[in-house]
Amino acid sequence: MQIHKHEAIIVGAGGAGLMAALYASKGGTDVAVVSKLYPTRSHTGAAQGGISAALGNLDDDAPIYHAYDTVKGGDYLTDQNAAMVLADNAIDAVIELEHMGLPFDRTPDGKISQRRFGGHTSNFGESLVRRACHAADRTGHMILQTLYQQCIKQKVNFFDEFQVVDLIINKDKCVGVVAVDIGTGEFHIYHGKAVLFASGGWGRCWEVTSNAHSLTGDGAAVVLRKGIPLQDMEFYQFHPTGIYRMGILITEGVRGEGGVLLNSRGERFMERYAPSVKDLASRDVVSRAIYDEVEAGRGIKGNNYVHLDIRPSTVNRFFAEEGRPESDYIDDAYVEKKLPDILDFCRTYLGVDPVKEPMPVQPTAHYGMGGIPTNIDAEVVTDENWAVYPGLYAAGETACVSVHGANRLGTNALLELVVFGRRGGMKIAEDVKQMEWTDLPSDAGKAMESEFKRIRTSKGKTKSHELRQKMQNMMMRKVGVYRTEETLSEAVEELKEMKQLYYTDLTIDDEGSIFNTDLMEAWELGCLLDLAEVTAVSALNRTESRGGHSRDDYKKRDDENWLVHTLVHSDSGDVQNPNYQINIKKKVDLSLAEKDDKFIPKERVY
């Protein structure tokens, strides 16, 4: 096994990983980025609408308003200290991206252009605010490209198409990772003082998802298998507007530019669910509204989708009703300019031209609010007392700071990547200067070599794709927008059976070493099954409805018992029989509420 030695090992090369790598490297740290994809293939590049910062370029704005929206959007499960850090750091982080060359759209006076987005308001909910800094509808693409470019300039070491499969621990410290070179099938050891996971989400647990095929939660699973907890896994966001059946995301920016959701009667139904901000209520609220409309028989042509309409004639009609000035009215050219990629997706995949026809949309599995628990400096913490795990860090979707609480606001994910990737990179640069090297254990990588051999030589009857499809379909039905004790208990049992098959009855076709994606997909399925199970277990445990977690049998939010984070961990040390345990003693940070009544948890109304 080849051994590489770098002070900091960054796992994943999306926005958070690249940001961490860049800032650790600028701080003098020797960094290696290990990623299963070429960095520019990362899913950060698919993010569309924008990145929020209270720059106030077009409307009156302030970080405290942004923090308020983030806390409220998270249904008060958001850690308030973290939300304030996010909102405060947003301004510097976005300005730094511009200084790195990011080509933001511009206002007539040459500043960064901003647009409206769901749940983002001025003056504590008074009116919608233009806060989302954007580059057309490819903001994530521009962030990913810009950060990769700057990492090249900074001469960061990249190991592209290396799949990280295990964490190496010695003397209760994280000392590195094990990775497979996908191109050759060889195992490599990365020995470091600091390891940061920025490996993205696990949307492929569900059948209809906006997530890339590669989003299989590997990093979170690898950490979970070492007995380290994951936090708030029951909170998974369904984005309201995925393209019908395909799940491809249609940015909230469409509604930010005036687009509206309509049911089979042509009603703008969000007026009933969120009278004040309507279509720009938070995502969990809008997804449930779509689900309820469909259940009430008001889906389009009796199907389980509704229409998203950005035709200027429709948008301007509602603008007129709302009394907006004629200068706000839009035309076809404006839609083409502001939403080019969305138009392209619809024209390519649906044969629908959004400037002439409405788009068919349904909720799509989108984003994990939970993940590897961290503090505001991206250090992994393992219990309710915020004990730091030495040498281990996490940032981005795979982490749970928690800035998103029970539901993430649009644009706050790109922001989280850059803010906490940056903080993590800076913290690592500081920490590695004080840290001594800890030796690798003598058996580093051996367990994974035999696990891969087991999968590669499996001679059962179950193909990994069959099992994956079964899991995805079941998760959609039983751990979706609405849940009950019955559906969740069934889900937990079915996942145990699927895992049994995974460990005893797998079969794969490709026994080779070179670029064996058959093998890699099978290994990734193991990660998905673990994450699906902790999601179902955590959801079963939380007997209330909050944000993205809606229990049909416990419809109300219950602050008395549930203003706490869920920590789930395996206590068996056995990957096949993890025996997950749940601890709910970690309290939500309410530090802003102590100073300002507006932050005290209350019923969430949009």
């Binding site: 070429y38 698919a46 511009e98 511009r106 040459g110 490209q145 095929h213 794709h465 490709d510 070179i514």
Partner: protein, 246 residues
């Protein structure tokens, strides 16, 4: 459309008899006109032959993983619908890069060319005193908008006969990347990039064959961008060129 035949050019260096390129034919039933070719390749891999090897990730044309040659034309498999390719489809790896296995090629030479044009923003001037963004007019921002769309999928470069003939040529994608910075009014390293592209394996290897433009899945006007870079090099400055061409 019910049944289609997909012929795939395959190669597996680990298996004797399959270590040279060969064609293999697969038949798929129940194919919808609006199915994506990528889904069909997944069906082959998942239902018929797990050894079929390809790269893919986002599946909707923004990550650039699944560039391949489809009926002789480069495209992303996830952006090609079955109704547009007929009932017998030929799928090959992109040309001009070493084959690793089946549809997977070695991308390193491609990324080496990319890195050779200084594909990063350079401006060491002090930032504005108020600590805020550098200002840029809507028109100046617009002048390089098209080339910011590049996702480095290599569809353009591997469709270029000049690149097939000489792999040392930096190729269209690298020039597109250079264009994105050369015409950004905030950037300060245009001259160095133009110098690099004025070398023998730079922009003059382009013979305006035009394969690159229709190959681009992001609809970037690649040949036009290359022309603008050529003109900037001849004039010694990028100033005024994009407005002059229109």
């Amino acid at each position: 459309m019910a049944t289609v035949t997909i012929k795939i050019k395959r190669q597996n260096p680990e298996i004797s008899g399959k270590d040279k390129p060969y064609w293999e034919e697969f038949t798929l039933k129940d194919v919808d006109p609006t199915d994506r070719l990528l889904e069909m390749l997944h069906r082959i891999k998942w239902e018929q032959d797990g050894t079929l090897t390809l790269r893919r990730s986002c599946a909707h044309g923004v990550c650039g993983s699944d560039a391949m040659r489809i009926n002789g034309v480069n495209a992303l498999a996830c952006k090609v619908l079955m109704q547009d390719v007929g009932e017998t489809i030929m799928v090959e790896p992109i040309l001009g890069l070493p084959i690793v296995k089946d549809l997977v090629v070695d991308m390193e030479p491609f990324f080496d060319h990319y890195k050779a044009v200084m594909p990063f923003f350079v401006n060491d001037d002090p930032v504005p005193e108020n600590g805020r963004e550098r200002l840029q007019s809507i028109e100046d921002r617009e002048s390089f908008d098209d080339t910011t769309k590049c996702i480095l999928c290599a569809c353009c470069t591997t469709s270029c006969p000049s690149f097939w003939a000489n792999g040392k040529y930096v190729g269209p994608a690298a020039i597109v990347q250079a264009h994105r910075f050369i015409f950004d009014t905030r950037d300060k390293a245009s001259q160095e990039r133009m110098d690099a592209l004025a070398e023998p394996n730079g922009v003059w290897r382009c013979r305006t064959i035009y394969n690159c433009t229709p190959a681009c899945p992001r609809d970037i006007q690649v040949t036009k961008a290359i022309g603008e870079v050529k003109l900037a090099i001849r004039r010694g400055s990028p100033t005024g060129i994009i407005k002059a061409i229109g």
